[in-house]
Symmetry: C2
């Protein structure tokens, strides 16, 4: 029976027929791997996600985490699922062998992770945070920190957090006020309050490793004066055993709209609840050099933002497949042309408007899934492609695609889960069905790891304009290749290639036109609209890539690919014309709006 | 201090500067009224909504209704608020004097109701159902039923339900299987299970009057065989006192995503829990003639669908104003051009992208509000306009606008509440703020009282094509007048008039083109897209109307109107071009999609 979480057939198509991940085995890092090991991982992921993550999807929402002033209580299924995830080496899939890792390609690791995000994003989130934390340490911390803190995270024994935001400093990280005071022994004492910290406390891991942004006494103002520290809940002895309790406690936890299984907390460092070493302050260890904390964090950003996009994709995938199941089994109404009301009702999938809602979801979910896997393959290429040139090109394209893979699945995944509710009608509005929870879970994705608006500034400001358009040109180069391939096929793909080419040329013109506006506030006034147009353009390209691979191959699966691609080109891509018109016109309506006029 | 529920200044603008409701006093039905009585009602509504509806908004969500197998338990604040609503004659605002009503115009009644929907839609819903029920009885039931059941509903002592759907018959009402068996005394015994019935049981009213769709033994198949019955929870004696308990009980209640204060139930009629008169079956009283139940229900549909649109508008209004408050008080970040990070952070309303999200909300909320009030004024005109011709014209235009006033605020009110969450960022994702609840409450509106897809079939199939385009022509006639007035003003309004005229002509062409497709399934294949395009066109017209009224009047309020109108014409109206292109092309992608291809 087909899963209602992820289409394994689609993953197979994307990995093997499109991205050809098998070619990666020729690279030293992945030499141990083959389709056999990839398939084994994907099957194991599907099974574990189905049997131990999906099973407490509803329960983790109904019985959200509680905090009694001392301890965070989670339902036991969350810890149990993550223990099993650790047992399948889930925390170290992509890690270096040196740290016990499997060195799997990010492409395959991302494909595997869609199973867990689809099954239960609230539980899966603990593992993503932990892996991101450990990977950052491997890239920037001392060997001692790597061994003492990163290794147990890859083993799934310790969990990690990203303790960046503070109550008055969410998006504006330059304004953090947490302080770190250097000690004679080379450690630091950390003081400060953090906010919105996922996984900030719980008892489902042996230890919690906080990555904390804080300022040294001599720090410059703003973003250039932020350093990064490892602050563990329990200090770790040289032999790896747990030592003293460090001074990090929670002031409270947040009560969320969705994604409830992931406890979200307000931790306090150095408030005096504990006195490690008999003195005040949470003991911390500097990661890398002073004042470079934000740089290290941003180094992880591509992977973290891809993880959000993958979470959004998995969530939308489950909602889509569950609404598809419902549409196939729920009888209601008859064809518009049926005059004899004594005939039995038909399943609602027979109504065109229901198929429209399912097809839209399919085009969003499979578009987002392909985009996420492409970005993961760019992560692989950035690191392991054969030539310096190829690595640089992958890096450039990934830079431009990162705000898109973060924002597009978040935005259209929301629309997709909303359509899933609509397919179910009144039933979809009850908590008897999962779709409403997926819709609530999804709403987090355009907010965390940089809001939608921040992605827009990143794309247009940093990734396109500051870069002199080099990233955009590299991406356009790839699109041109797809356009050429589609034109060679002729027929529909060729027509879609023309459509894509026209919009690609247009976005190029529009981008150059923006520069002429001069004033940065005016250039960026419609950055969100630009982001959304660019996102749809990119996903149209991704669909054309899929259509080229599908070619004229026969069968239901390929017919479905072609129909979803047709849907995207007929209904979705044309939406960007008015968006680009607005940007091209240098519209200043929002810019000129005044507070007093609201 | 300005309210964070509704802009009283905007209501004033719409009622007096735009719709000129004062002119209604020249009509006999409204002769007792004047601006003084309207203002008094609006002020009283604002006060009651603020002091007794908004105050338990969160509590009614956190402590949703429970059912112990016998009794439904609601928090006491719901009953208290509705008691106060009854004391201000809220249930009989628009009712005939004959039934103790105030005979207020629907335009003013609808304006008043936005306060309650903004404050607490879950509580306000009980009154809407009751008024709809009582109004239907006044239109179609016997005098005895009117006196015994409608009158106490207008007094707010009895509450009403609309018991239409059944577990297997939601949208497809022709498939209801509830039965009504005629008795020798002229009453009926009703048997059957209903589903999705709001307010189906509780103890906050003296009695509950169910309007039940059921089939008589000799009923024809399908929609033409459905009759309508009054089935009270307690039978009512001739003197108005409560008599025996009737045989209607609940099998269960539904647990919803939002709008939780309104208990949603699955009632069972005639299951034997009670034996009224010592016999089996719930005692019911036929409304009007046999087999005409659906016709009577549809008679109320314009008002009921307007009520949904008004609920969606009120919900979006509260979320908008609450996010505006937040944006004015939350410091975060600095201007893009600020290089000195030692300067204080600015309130987020100073960021263009935040103003964009607020301005979008303003354009949706004030567009929807104006649309709702216009439809209410058409209800008034349909009933009381001076000439037969004017009444017929109002009726035609209202017919076309009804699926739009139901669906447009529901769809864009969702986008609007989502933007409210986004303005708050992480805070918006917590239950510490109201916006997430408004977003959940809002999600019901595209589902109940006919789903979005049903509105699309109603607009394109029934209201436009079956009518030979007469309704569309009547609406176009009104738009042409606005276009002429805007052109006379010159400047921006004149340019918007040209933009509107082009899209109006286009939709006319596209509509005629559709007819040529022949096959009803093909004609209706993109009915939802057509609905959404038509909705945006109508709201653009509504904005042009407002811009014509605002003219060049100075002041913050009028500047705000012009800026929001500018936003709608720059960002929103252009979205319909690709939609109409799709419809014009007779796109069959969804129609041709096959089950096996998903």
């Amino acid at each position: 029976m087909a899963s209602n979480l992820v289409s394994a057939r689609n993953i197979e198509f994307l990995l093997y027929e499109w991205l050809d991940v098998e070619r990666l085995s020729s690279r030293e890092r992945f030499a141990e791997h083959s389709r056999e090991s990839y398939d084994a991982l994907l099957e194991l992921s599907a099974q574990l996600a189905t049997d131990h993550f999906a099973t407490h999807f509803r329960k983790s929402d109904e019985q959200e985490p509680t905090f009694d002033g001392t301890t965070v209580h989670l339902i036991p299924e969350i810890g149990d699922a993550l223990k099993r995830f650790a047992e399948m080496d889930g925390f170290s899939l992509q890690a270096d062998e040196e740290f016990g890792g499997m060195q799997l390609p990010a492409t395959v690791g991302t494909a595997a992770s869609t199973w867990f995000t689809a099954a239960n994003i609230g539980t899966a989130c603990y593992s993503f945070l932990t892996v991101a934390n450990a990977s950052l340490l491997v890239a920037h911390a001392s060997d001692e920190i790597k061994q003492r803190y990163a290794r147990p995270m890859f083993e799934g024994r310790f969990f990690g957090t990203m303790a960046m935001s503070e109550p008055h400093a969410g998006t504006s990280l330059g304004d953090v006020t947490s302080r770190a005071i250097p000690q004679a022994d080379g450690t630091y004492r950390v003081f400060g309050s953090k906010m919105w910290i996922s996984g900030g406390d719980h008892e489902i891991a042996e230890n919690i490793v906080h990555l904390v942004l804080a300022k040294l006494p001599d720090a410059p103002e703003g973003t250039k004066g932020i350093s990064l520290f490892v602050v563990p809940k329990f200090l770790v002895n040289e032999d790896g055993s747990l030592g003293e309790r460090n001074d990090v406690v929670l002031s409270s936890i947040n009560h969320k709209l969705g994604s409830r299984g992931t406890v979200n907390t307000a931790p306090v460092f150095g408030d005096g609840a504990f006195q490690p070493g008999g003195e005040s302050g949470a003991i911390g260890f500097l990661v890398g050099e002073p004042h470079k904390g934000l740089k290290y964090m941003f180094h992880m950003m591509n992977a973290a933002r891809l993880a959000v996009g993958t979470a959004a994709t998995g969530t939308a995938s489950a909602a889509y497949l569950k609404s598809l199941d419902y549409a196939r089994s729920r009888p209601q109404g008859r064809a518009l042309t049926t005059t004899d009301q004594a005939t039995p009702q038909v399943e609602i999938i027979e109504h065109t408007d229901v198929r429209r809602m399912l097809l839209a979801q399919k085009s969003y979910v499979e578009g987002a899934m392909a985009l996420a896997l492409l970005c993961a393959s760019l992560l692989d290429d950035e690191r392991t492609a054969e030539t310096e040139e190829a690595r640089a090109e992958a890096s450039k394209v990934l830079g431009v695609l990162t705000p898109i893979v973060k924002s597009w699945p978040s935005q259209w995944g929301q629309e997709s889960t909303s359509l899933a509710i609509q397919v179910l009608g009144g039933a979809g509005y009850t908590r008897d069905y999962d779709v409403e929870q997926h819709w609530r879970d999804q709403r987090l994705n355009p907010i965390h790891e940089g809001t939608h608006g921040i992605q827009a500034l990143d794309l247009l400001g940093r990734k396109i304009l500051m870069d002199g358009g080099a990233g955009l040109m590299a991406l356009a180069g790839r699109m041109e290749k797809t356009i050429a391939a589609a034109r060679e096929l002729g027929g529909e793909p060729s027509a879609y290639a023309d459509q894509l080419k026209a919009q690609l040329d247009r976005i190029g013109e529009v981008t150059f036109g923006l520069v002429a506006l001069g004033d940065p506030e005016k250039i960026m006034a419609n950055a969100s609209v630009y982001l959304e147009a660019a996102g749809h353009l990119v996903v149209a390209w991704i669909w054309l890539e899929q259509l080229v691979v599908a070619g004229t191959t026969e069968g239901d699966f390929y017919n479905g690919k072609r129909q979803a691609g047709r849907y995207f080109f007929a209904t979705e891509l044309p939406k960007i014309t008015p968006m680009l018109d607005l940007v091209a016109a240098g519209d200043l309506t929002s810019y000129e709006m005044q507070d007093a006029w609201f």
